[in-house]
């Protein structure tokens, strides 16, 4: 068993050495191209103010790696995988003390809003290359498979009206949303600079177009004035049908990376070796 595994490993290593296989670790920052804008409207004494909260899903630092195979000098096929880190953002919209107001209306969210959106992406890509000396311009495109997990942590004052008086309820409510893999498009255009025969540095402008159907939402925390009230919620878990809760994770940004191309070992005949030796002797 061990022998056969070793044999398979050797064959795999051998084929790896004979192919123009490359690895391309990279990192960069992506900006949400379709942030979700949440409006919170305050009207006090017939004066209106609208507060905007941008939920920048898909924004964050973007480390990843792709493994590819260069078919020839112009074409490559590769498998790209990446995630997003540092995706926690905070927003805060202050609400006035309703006890001091006479004529008012509020709609939308007022309070502290922290959200985090982790995403995982896998993309098989086709690349096209144009080479000029040490510079290689490339364009890549492929279907993007994206899976997400979103956390919303909210802290707000829930006002309770009791016999004509307002009572503030200091509330914390957290939500967790998850999805399955959703298909979109990933493409990039960039430049590689060849440092040596097998090593190059790359800069890529990346565009990802991907909506994500949220499949499940769970209320994970519900506290009023520090007391747990989660057990009072009958349906803490909500399952969503396709199209019912869609989040746009589209993003654009730049990635910087290093590409290492495994050297192709050409199989030469003894004659060819002799000829090359002779020519070198001359």
């Amino acid at each position: 068993m061990k022998k056969s595994s070793l044999l398979i490993l050797l064959i795999a290593v051998n084929s790896l050495l004979n192919a123009q296989i490359f690895i391309h670790p990279y990192a960069g920052y992506m900006f949400s191209s379709h942030p979700f804008k949440m409006q919170s409207v305050e009207v006090v004494d017939f004066v209106q103010t609208v507060y905007i909260t941008k939920l920048k899903y898909g924004e964050g630092m973007n480390p990843g790696m792709s493994v590819g195979y260069k078919v020839n000098n112009y074409l490559s096929i590769e498998l790209n995988g990446c995630t997003h880190v540092f995706t926690t953002f905070n927003n805060s919209i202050e609400q006035r003390d309703l006890r001091t107001l006479d004529n008012f209306s509020y709609s939308g969210f007022f309070g502290d809003f922290e959200y985090q959106s982790k995403i995982y992406q896998v993309t098989p890509q086709l690349g096209y290359y144009i080479t000029k000396n040490k510079l290689i311009v490339c364009m890549k495109i492929g279907p993007n498979f994206l899976k997400s997990k979103i956390n919303h942590n909210t802290h707000y004052i829930d006002w309770e009206l009791d016999i004509g008086d307002w009572y503030p309820l200091n509330t914390n409510k957290d939500y967790e949303y998850s999805s399955k893999f959703n298909i979109g498009i990933r493409s990039s255009v960039g430049i590689d600079y060849q440092i040596s025969s097998g090593l190059s540095a790359s800069v890529n402008f990346v565009s990802v177009y991907n909506n994500c159907n949220i499949t499940r939402g769970v209320i994970t925390r519900y506290e009023i004035d520090g007391v747990n009230h989660l057990y009072k919620i009958q349906d803490a878990t909500t399952d969503y049908d396709k199209g019912e809760n869609v989040v746009n994770f589209s993003h654009v940004g730049f990635n910087i990376g290093i590409k290492y191309i495994f050297k192709k070992i050409s199989k030469t005949t003894p004659d060819a070796d002799n000829k090359s030796n002779k020519s070198s002797n001359r």
């Binding site: 979700f36 144009i130 000029k132 490339c138 364009m139 255009v189 565009s207 746009n248």
Partner: protein, 279 residues
């Protein structure tokens, strides 16, 4: 203005003195398909008014909205800097073909209507092409950005009731990249196919109700016109129902950008201007 004319003339004279095969003309037509969808922008509220001050707001929201699907026409003049690089200045026209969107998801206890979007965009597109040739064919990577203006008309309707809005010609921006495959037919003529990604952005600043099934709807400026602003802060509203001073000003709403992300494809012809070779 004069400076622009002089610069243009100098550019044309310069082009005339360029190497013979450096200048070319291109024309293409094609189709766009959406790369992405967005929540439909809420540029206005569609309300139905009935006697005795009864009013219903119609749900028009669509979560899978995109008007990027449509046709495109492109014409360009280009200049080969060398075998690798070319510069182009193009004019592009695009219009949506998917126009109608029903409210989706439908709300259970509301009136669900539909909207009809008519969008046209005209852009000036400078681009840079990086290419390589193989015998009779060539492949180029095309990177571009554009500026132009767009026309938008939106009709909201439910059964026989409708409101028809016309939006201002606001400046629109675009950027994208793609790939072109060219095949040489003769020394001067090449045909090509192109495909890539294009992102267009249009943010209207003003809209007007141009027609309505309900004459009541066009009785005041507030009901006829909408101004879109970047921020609403301390906006004075009407103090009471029917406040004439308030109703004689346009409605104020927050700006929303229409984002058209599309995969474009096209087929075209390239004509290279040949001149006598310099000896």
């Amino acid at each position: 203005m004069n400076k622009i004319i002089v610069l243009t003339l100098l550019f044309v004279i310069q082009l005339n003195h360029c190497n013979s095969q450096s200048i070319y003309l291109k024309a293409s037509g094609g189709f766009n398909i959406p790369a992405n969808t967005q929540q439909s922008p809420e540029y206005f509220s569609f309300r139905l008014y009935f006697p005795n001050d009864v009013m219903y707001k119609v749900n028009l929201s669509n979560s899978g909205f995109s008007i990027a699907e449509g046709i495109n026409f492109h014409g360009a003049v280009g200049y080969n800097l060398n075998k690798l690089l070319s510069l182009e200045l193009g004019i592009s026209y695009s219009a949506n073909t998917k126009k109608e969107f029903e409210a989706s998801p439908k709300l259970e206890y509301a009136l669900n209507g539909k909207t009809n979007w008519d969008y046209k965009s005209y852009s000036l597109i400078p681009s840079i092409l990086i290419g390589q040739s193989f015998n009779n064919s060539a492949i180029s990577i095309n990177i571009f950005s554009g500026i132009g203006f767009s026309n938008l008309k939106v009709k909201a309707s439910i059964e026989d009731y409708y409101n028809n809005y016309s939006f201002d010609k606001a400046i629109s921006f675009s950027y994208g990249y793609g790939i072109e495959y060219l095949y040489r037919l003769t020394a001067k003529i090449q045909i090509y196919i192109s495909a890539g990604l294009n992102n267009m952005f249009y943010t209207p600043r003003h809209a007007e109700l141009v027609s309505s099934s309900d004459p009541l709807n066009i009785s005041t400026v507030y009901q006829r016109e909408i101004d879109y602003v970047t921020e609403i802060k301390d906006l004075r509203l009407g103090n009471y129902y029917g406040d004439q001073q308030y109703l004689e000003n346009p409605e104020v709403r927050l700006q929303e950008t229409l984002k058209l992300n599309c995969i474009y494809s096209g087929i075209g012809i390239k004509y290279t201007l040949l001149k006598n070779e310099k000896k």
